[in-house]
């Protein structure tokens, strides 16, 4: 079913024409809509856009801070849960059961609920020594929820490593822990890089939920701007900031995956 040169050019032209027609149609239909001038004024106001740029990026630093701190703990906690879940033998049944229950619970409960309950509930207990800082509790909530997701990603990676690898490592005299550390995990983590990134991006976006507890991050700052201008353009600024943060991360993973594949193939060739 190889396309000949002529029909190849032809399909490119068709794709091009179709894209142009499609784009023009959207622009025409949207901009000729009776409400368009109003929508443009409300969502795409240049002046408000510029004003928002003065304050929202600063607030966005808080999102990045929450994200970076939470991410470290998520990677550790999730790994711990995933390892607990893959422990063999009847002795470890309670540990396995607990980690399964954990993943089920925190993947099932909406993040927003966990944030509300922890952020307003935990400090409300008035236990001395427990922090009140909403930023702390918001981050804890994100760590708890995302660790559940990420532990499943890890587990998928661990289970994707062929059992013969473990058998071979054990037969070479590596202990079970050593096998996990030097044989299983390096392969497992490498394989799950793309889905891990997926969860990172989810986490980036969900940092906005911490605003519910009071701290003013980018989304909240844009809400404040929206309310004071009665114009929705600040949301656009925040959306752009989030996308700008996501794109480099996505390219980085693409690159990591590519590098990894090259190394694997190069290794195979050398043999």
């Amino acid at each position: 079913m190889r396309a000949s040169g002529v029909s190849g050019v032809r399909s490119i032209l068709i794709a091009l024409a179709s894209t142009v027609v499609f784009a023009v149609a959207i622009v025409v239909v949207v901009s000729s809509a009776p409400g368009w001038p109003e929508v443009r004024r409300q969502f795409l106001n240049r002046e408000v856009f510029r004003e928002s740029l003065d304050v929202i990026p600063e607030a966005f630093l808080l999102n990045i801070k929450i994200f970076l701190i939470a991410e470290v703990f998520i990677l550790l906690l999730a790994l711990l849960i995933a390892i607990c879940r893959s422990l063999p033998g009847p002795v470890f049944f309670p540990v396995r059961a607990l980690s399964i229950a954990y993943a089920d619970f925190f993947r099932g409960v909406p993040t927003i609920l966990v944030i509300y309950v922890l952020g307003f509930g935990a400090p409300g207990l008035e236990i001395s020594g427990i922090p009140r800082d909403p930023l702390f509790w918001g981050t804890v909530a994100l760590v708890l929820v995302y660790s559940a997701y990420v532990s499943e990603v890890y587990r998928a990676g661990i289970e994707s490593v062929h059992p013969s690898q473990e058998a071979a490592a054990r037969s070479l005299g590596l202990s079970r822990a050593q096998t996990l550390r030097f044989v299983i995990l390096p392969q497992a983590v490498r394989r799950v890089m793309p889905p891990l990134l997926n969860d990172f991006i989810g986490l980036q976006k969900d940092t906005a939920l911490v605003a519910l507890l009071g701290p003013v991050e980018a989304f909240r700052q844009s809400q404040i701007e929206v309310a004071s201008n009665f114009n929705y353009t600040p949301y656009l600024v925040t959306a752009i900031l989030f996308v700008l943060l996501t794109i480099p991360l996505a390219r980085l993973t693409d690159w990591l995956v590519l590098r990894d594949r090259r190394r694997q193939f190069a290794l195979g060739g050398a043999r």
């Binding site: 959207i26 239909v29 949207v30 000729s32 809509a33 009776p34 409400g35 368009w36 109003e38 929508v39 004024r41 409300q42 969502f43 307003f120 400090p123 409300g124 009140r132 800082d133 909403p134 605003a211 519910l212 507890l213 009071g214 701290p215 003013v216 909240r220 809400q223 404040i224 929206v226 309310a227 004071s228 201008n229 009665f230 114009n231």
Partner: protein
């Protein structure tokens, strides 16, 4: 034009952003308006009940948030009122809404309530309510997206802290320096923290006053800034160990207005109704009934 309608409708469905900007009902309203104007001339009172352009014919559709809080709205037990339940007409805004309806010639049974969250009041496009009554302060920027009636209540802001707080005894604005304050997003209360109090600590901002009140209870904030009339319910019922420190100096002429769709023809008639309520003293009576409380000092 007719052929455009179908793809247009599809697009409107697909893009939630501009859902409310669909122009169908706008056009209808426009033709109705010009038709009414040329036919009837000046002989007919434009504010006569049958001349009003209403969201739903034959009834006055009024919007507010859910739940609606005392002293603005309350149910028969004095608790916050859920607008999807039986109206009680109790609370300042409820009483004003019914008084306005009465001035316009609507009976209590002809008033219908719909729930519209605070943030959605200002979405562009046609509204499915005649006016919204939800403690919306007039601001020139807001006036560009929607229309406001004249004032039905002149607002003051107030600071609430826990009685145990070191800020509870503050007599001046300077004494509130260093306080971590909180308010609901998009409110004049928030603006008061930023513009009037100017505490050295960044304020916390909440989705609802209830969240801000929880934060106050948890001592996650030192103080809460709210509309003064709300402080009575907060300190008496919601956080009994809280106290109203004081009112804030009013910034300019700040007031609550009823919110209409931009360009609503109903506004002038409602303004007429409010003016006559003010003149007859009825507005003051309603304020006396629902908002009267011992007033704490103004912080300067």
């Amino acid at each position: 034009m007719r052929r455009l309608q179908f793809p247009l409708a599809l697009l409107v469905l697909a893009l939630a952003l501009i859902a409310s900007a669909c122009g169908g009902s706008n056009e209808a309203a426009d033709t109705q308006a010009t038709g009414g104007g040329t036919d009837t001339a000046s002989a007919v009172d434009p504010c006569a009940k049958d001349q009003l352009e209403l969201a739903t014919a034959g009834q006055l559709t009024i919007a507010t948030d859910n739940p609606a809080f005392p002293p603005w709205f309350q149910d028969a037990e004095g608790a916050p009122w859920d607008p999807t339940t039986e109206p009680t007409g109790q609370g300042y805004e409820a009483a004003v809404a019914y008084a306005v309806a009465e001035e316009l010639g609507f009976s209590e049974a002809e008033v219908a309530w719909v729930v519209v969250p605070f943030d959605n009041v200002f979405k562009p496009g046609p509204k499915d309510f005649d006016f919204d009554v939800n403690q919306v302060s007039y601001k020139p920027e807001r006036d560009e997206a929607v229309d406001f009636s004249d004032s039905y209540y002149d607002v003051e802001q107030a600071v609430v802290t826990l009685k145990s707080s070191k800020f509870a005894g503050a007599k001046t604005l300077a004494e509130l320096q260093g306080a971590k304050l909180g308010a609901q997003v998009g409110t004049t209360s928030f603006d008061a923290i930023v513009n009037t109090i100017q505490s050295s600590k960044d304020p916390n901002v909440y989705n609802t006053n209830n969240d801000a009140i929880s934060a106050l209870k948890n001592r996650q904030i030192d103080g809460l800034v709210v509309d003064f009339p709300s402080t009575g319910f907060i300190t008496a019922v919601q956080v009994p160990n809280a106290t109203t420190v004081g009112r804030l100096p009013a910034e300019g002429q700040e007031y609550f207005g009823l919110v209409f769709e931009e360009g609503s023809s109903l506004r002038d008639c409602v303004n007429g109704a409010i003016a006559s309520l003010r003149e007859s003293g009825r507005l003051d009576e309603i304020a006396q009934e629902w908002l009267e409380s011992s007033s704490p000092p103004v912080l300067k």
